[in-house]
């Protein structure tokens, strides 16, 4: 009985316990028993908030008459009022705090119902003074209530000059010795009254702050002496869009600077006097105002899709109605600091469709300078921050160079040579696939890919030189990924046609990172993403999902055998322990899949298809042994290649019986065309005294019969080698030292073939990656500046080698 059968028994038992047969496996019965405990352990809702919400919703149901609503509100208030609250609204500093906000100067805030008041006993004189100060400075607040007389109900209404009402109705409040009160408000639309419910909870607090959040209409008041908190939320997109849109940016009189971010493709302006700094790696741009406030801009390209779910906000975004950074999310003003450290801040957030998926922005302005803590961010700083944010605009990514492959991807995931060494596939700054030809240099962007394609995730070359690229096709209505066939004819640098993409995945699926493989003859294709394996079905000319064996529900690697008759899979699963991997084999064209070996990861097929190579799993320890194995694809039997050739053994010094080899980690593994194999190892017996754990590399190689081959030893302090068997069975590698920075950058010191250094011009700049062409005629290197912005300065350099 497999897992699917067990789960059916389980599901049936949940729906109808009587349906469970008496001979059901014990594990199903136990799982059912546990599931019922889970159901019964969930508590019932608390009745008071449940009924309060019900009453409020019914009161405001569209079918309810306004009079009925008022009556219901009064009745409810009559039952609930047992304590007193007082709101006062002062708009003295309104302009300063809320430029462009919906509550305009002169707004009147008046309670709609008389609420009897009992002043809260403020025993803390500092708190009392602060209350008075805030009362005089905030546009609206403040709450005074008597915790002893809670629960209570209160309502407050104010009318803006635009005749829009904001109606706060606190229906439910819980009392507590500490008197925390929480309000939540919602807004059906910007013309209708805004509603609120609230509740108070018991807890002690020591802080002292007031918060004014105009984006979500969060009003907060907390006082340490009386321990009272009022929080109110308006969480409504309509209101936000209607009321808090930033005003359109108009260039100020003074000359503003412009910042252009070419990779993701956006730009903004900022005033003179603000200092700009760009952080490497995760993109955070900071602008420091003359008075010390910091505007931080975090930008992240995201691949997102929106479901057709019945959610108003989602529908709005799916319809493309989101404008670029038009939304001020929050403004926060924190009162004078107590023992804690508080800040004054404003937050903006938005997403925007961009060249590569979706750009997601988080922008926040904050300050912790003493002056700001005393009085809040200055109106001028806030005004300038708003203008900076409203000046954001999307720009087209910079055009890629046509003479040299310079405008290189910030995340060079692809650097793939065609089998004949004639072409190199790489990604440009926009993530689009480009090809460099050994004959003619860079070629134009592949026709047909400019529009719609967002990023190439993986590519495979057939032995005939045809390129198959899996490309996320985000502008496809269903956001599916496409596979393109790109025929490249030797001697003809430009591909003549790009055939129609084949789409992978179910409509509406969100493609994540895609792994793509094709058989050498190009007739078989497979892709893995979203935890599923998709295999090309020639009959339907489409990709169809395939089931995975056992407990495994994720595909971590896939390789077709040289003759295309088998597909080796590396599987992992959310259910298995860490580290976790297994090898599986799919027979083609039938698609039957079986587990081959657990506990090994997949490397590659031997050139004759007789063996698979795999690695033992690592838990990430830096000195843990990682062995290479040769696996029989028919039986799953695995031969440990590295243990059968222990390193470091000296017959003159070591006792064979007691000898324990130092840990070795296989870093790279490659089959030679003749079936010999090569492993690049980190050998801990070779580590320098400093125990520089990135050094200590050496090679180990064996001929097809398993006999060790004598290979040159690289320099001990080399940190990267990038070895490759090139045509003719020769070994090419580089020796590079670590130069620092993130990501790790290496300075190439020499390139060797069979241990002999080549006389070549090496890149002056450090490299991130190096890849030798299969014919050994050249190497492709991703170079970056020694310091500074590596993403913008990344280049692809072709190094002629002529071995």
């Amino acid at each position: 009985m497999d897992e699917r059968d067990l789960s059916q028994l389980f599901s049936g038992g949940l729906d109808d316990p009587a349906s469970l047969p008496p001979d059901a496996p014990a594990e199903v019965a136990e799982a059912l028993d546990f599931a019922r405990r889970l159901e019964s352990a969930l508590p019932d809702p608390r009745p008071v908030p449940r009924e309060a919400l019900r009453a409020r919703l019914i009161e405001h149901h569209p079918g309810q008459a306004r009079l009925g609503r008022l009556r219901a509100g009064l009745e409810l208030a009559g039952r609930a009022i047992a304590a007193v609250a007082l709101f006062a609204a002062l708009l003295v500093l309104f302009d300063r705090l809320l430029p462009g906000g919906p509550l305009l100067p002169g707004t009147q805030i008046t309670p709609t119902a008389q609420i009897s008041g009992t002043p809260l006993p403020l025993e803390n004189p500092d708190a009392r003074a602060e209350l008075e100060r805030l009362s005089a400075s905030l546009p609206y607040t403040l709450l005074v209530l008597d915790p002893d007389r809670l629960p209570f109900s209160l309502s407050l209404q104010w009318v803006t000059e635009e005749k829009k009402s904001l109606f706060i109705d606190v229906i439910q409040v819980y009392a507590s010795p500490y008197g925390e009160l929480i309000l939540s408000q919602t807004a059906p639309d910007d013309e209708a009254p805004l509603k609120a419910t609230g509740e108070a909870q018991v807890r002690g607090t020591t802080g002292y702050w007031a918060t004014l959040n105009t984006g979500q209409r969060l009003l907060t008041w907390q006082e340490s002496g009386a321990q009272v908190t009022l929080r109110g939320f308006v969480d409504d997109d309509t209101l936000l869009a209607a009321a808090e849109s930033l005003t359109a940016f108009t260039p100020p009189d003074e000359a503003w600077n412009e910042y252009v971010e070419p990779g993701p493709g956006f730009a903004f302006q900022y005033p003179p006097g603000w200092e700009l700094a760009v952080q490497e790696g995760p993109r955070i741009i900071t602008l420091t105002s003359p008075d010390g406030a910091v505007l931080s801009i975090a930008c992240q390209p995201m691949a997102m899709s929106y479901s057709p779910a019945p959610d108003l906000g989602e529908q709005k975004q799916a319809a493309g109605q989101v404008e670029f950074i038009d939304e001020l999310v929050t403004r926060w003003l924190f009162g004078p600091p107590g023992e804690d450290r508080f800040t004054a801040a404003a937050y903006y957030e938005d997403r925007a469709p961009a060249a590569r998926g979706t750009l997601s922005f988080w922008i926040w302005l904050e300050s912790s300078t003493a002056a700001d803590l005393e009085s809040g961010l200055s109106a001028e700083t806030l005004r300038q921050a708003d203008r900076i944010v409203s000046s954001f605009r999307l720009i087209e990514p910079s055009p890629s160079a046509t003479e040299t492959p310079a405008d290189f991807s910030a995340a060079p995931g692809l650097l793939e040579w065609s089998p004949d060494g004639q072409y190199l596939l790489y990604l440009d700054a926009a993530g689009l696939p480009r090809i460099w030809s050994a004959e003619t240099g860079p070629v134009d962007l592949l026709p047909g890919l400019e529009k719609g394609a967002v990023a190439a995730f993986d590519a495979a070359w057939t032995s005939g030189g045809e390129l198959l690229a899996a490309i996320q096709y985000a502008r496809h209505p269903d956001n599916q990924a496409g596979v393109y066939r790109i025929p490249l004819e030797p001697g003809l640098p430009l591909p003549r046609t790009v055939t129609q993409a084949l789409f992978i995945g179910a409509p509406g699926a969100t493609p994540g990172w895609i792994q793509f493989e094709a058989s050498p003859d190009g007739t078989q294709m497979a892709a893995a993403y979203g935890g599923q394996l998709w295999r090309y079905d020639p009959e339907s000319d489409s990709f169809l999902p395939s089931n995975l064996p056992g407990e495994y529900d994720q595909v971590a690697g896939l390789r077709f055998s040289p003759d295309g008759s088998r597909l080796a899979l590396q599987l992992t699963g959310s259910a298995c322990a860490s580290p976790c991997a297994a090898l599986a084999l799919m027979e083609l064209p039938g698609g039957e899949t079986r587990l081959l070996r657990e506990g090994l990861s997949l490397l590659d097929w031997s050139p004759d298809g007789r063996w698979l190579a795999g690695l033992s799993l690592s838990d990430g320890s830096r000195d843990q042994t990682v062995d290479a194995y040769r696996i029989d694809p028919d039986t799953g039997e695995a031969l440990n290649l590295t243990r059968t050739n222990p390193s470091g053994f000296d017959p003159l010094l070591d006792d064979p019986a007691a000898y324990q080899p130092a840990p070795v980690q296989v870093l790279r593994f490659a089959w030679s065309p003749d079936g010999s194999y090569l492993a690049e190892l980190r050998d801990y017996s070779l580590l320098p005294e400093s125990y520089n754990y990135l050094a200590g590399h050496r090679f180990a190689a064996w001929d097809p019969s398993g006999q060790p081959l004598a290979l040159p030893a690289p320099e001990r302090d080399a940190w990267q080698l990038w070895p490759r068997w090139i045509q003719g069975g020769r070994l090419m590698y580089a020796e590079a030292r670590y130069t620092g920075g993130m990501p790790e950058r290496y300075q190439i010191e020499r390139i060797r073939i069979d241990g002999k250094p080549l006389e070549v011009d090496l890149p002056a700049d450090p490299v991130l990656r190096l890849s030798f062409s299969p014919d050994g005629r050249c190497a492709a290197a991703v170079t970056v500046p020694p310091e500074g912005d590596w993403q913008r300065g990344a280049r692809l350099e072709i190094i002629p080698l002529a071995p």
């Binding site: 889970l38 969930l42 925390e180 018991v202 479901s307 019945p310 959610d311 860490s578 838990d619």
Partner: protein, 188 residues
């Protein structure tokens, strides 16, 4: 008995039908949120937001396009996603009273053993991946059938069954795990 779909249509226009709809679904929605929020107050807040959205969205509900319950819980899932997205923004803020908010006092009539079991279960839930937690919430909190969950989640019905069965077993194992054991990510 009125079907949920018919009731939903009536509820768009009639307050009394909306009240019936509320009574029918509040507890299930609450339990679904509780399995995600882990806090009764937060679950109640989410319930309030959901039913307010529901009140506005009901006129858009079209029974011809699908059952009401999958539609309702799709709304709930979207709300949760928005909620946690906003929470991510708020983590910058010193005003994080919610994070420091203690759990409400237990009902004195609730047995200590039940409270302990619930605490243990909810803690174990958080060791599961989000997708599995969501499926358990839809199954045991919302009380949806596998078919309804398939409609909400986009998975196949049989896959839902397997995933829930697998998640229950993992949750059970997590509950039986000795305290303090750390979970690590797998890395090959």
């Amino acid at each position: 008995m009125t079907s949920p779909e018919a009731l939903a249509r009536q509820a768009a226009a009639q307050p009394s039908a909306f009240a019936d709809l509320y009574d029918l679904y509040y507890d299930r929605v609450y339990r679904y949120f509780l399995l995600h929020a882990g806090d009764q107050v937060e679950a109640e807040d989410l319930c309030a937001l959901l039913f307010e959205r529901l009140l506005r969205a009901l006129p858009q509900y079209d029974p011809a396009r699908g059952g009401f319950e999958p539609w309702l819980f799709t709304l709930a899932r979207n709300l949760l996603r928005d909620h946690f997205r906003r929470q991510r923004l708020r983590r910058f803020l010193p005003l994080d009273a919610a994070a420091r908010r203690p759990a409400p006092d237990p009902d004195p009539e609730e047995s200590l053993a039940r409270v302990e079991e619930r605490t243990r279960l909810l803690a174990a839930l958080w060791t599961l991946p989000e997708r599995e937690r969501d499926l358990l919430g839809l199954k045991f909190g919302a009380g949806l059938t596998n078919r309804q969950i398939a409609a909400v989640s986009g998975l196949s019905e049989s896959n839902v069954g397997v995933l829930i069965y697998r998640a229950v077993r993992k949750l059970r194992a997590a509950c039986e795990e000795p305290a303090g054991k750390e979970h690590t990510d797998g890395r090959a």
